[in-house]
Amino acid sequence: AQKVTQAQTEISVVEKEDVTLDCVYETRDTTYYLFWYKQPPSGELVFLIRRNSFDEQNEISGRYSWNFQKSTSSFNFTITASQVVDSAVYFCALSELRYSSASKIIFGSGTRLSIRP
């Protein structure tokens, strides 16, 4: 069964520090998709990135970077030079590609990130 684990419930760092949010997943499928979402204090859920299981290339977008490692079933998210506006709850999610049945997106329990000025 598919499962996503975000072991870090809460993280607090001082502004400008780098911070890494961990995501470990479980799946029986060889084809799957991983996602990260951000939920700022205002409550909406914002899509950040999607990665498929065949693409292990790391991705960088500004201060954000993602490290996907199939060998450890991890898809970690790093924020470089954190800012107060990065304060939010971050969710990792997994979708398996099923040809015999419908797919569903399962989320981890989230990591609450607080950036202190």
Partner: protein, 112 residues
């Protein structure tokens, strides 16, 4: 922004009463999902739909039912609301199995 509308946005109801939450999309996406968000549990999937009249259970489906008679609408019904169903409910849509989901603004439901 993806065209997703949840209604109502806030609701207070009494234990034992039926409640229906509506999710409406204008994107013609195939997949629609209902999640609930509770402290310490993140987002948990209640039910999802992969087409008109095609639905399936998620992780926490007990006490909930859904219907999708049109592509654009996905209804979540609590047949007899309980206090444990007090939560924030999110609807989401996605185009296919391998694309990201876009979320509605959420519905805060309080069962007293």
């Amino acid at each position: 922004d993806a065209g997703i509308t949840q209604s109502p946005r806030h609701k207070v109801t009494e234990t034992g009463t039926p409640v229906t939450l509506r999710c409406h999309q204008t994107e013609n996406h195939r997949y629609m999902y209902w999640y609930r968000q509770d402290p310490g549990h993140g987002l948990r999937l209640i039910h999802y739909s992969y087409g008109v009249k095609d639905t399936d259970k998620g992780e926490v489906s007990d006490g909930y039912s859904v219907s999708r008679s049109k592509t654009e609408d996905f209804l979540l019904t609590l047949e007899s609301a309980t206090s444990s169903q007090t939560s924030v409910y999110f609807c989401a849509i996605s185009d296919s199995e391998h694309t990201e989901a876009f979320f509605g603004q959420g519905t805060r439901l309080t069962v007293v």
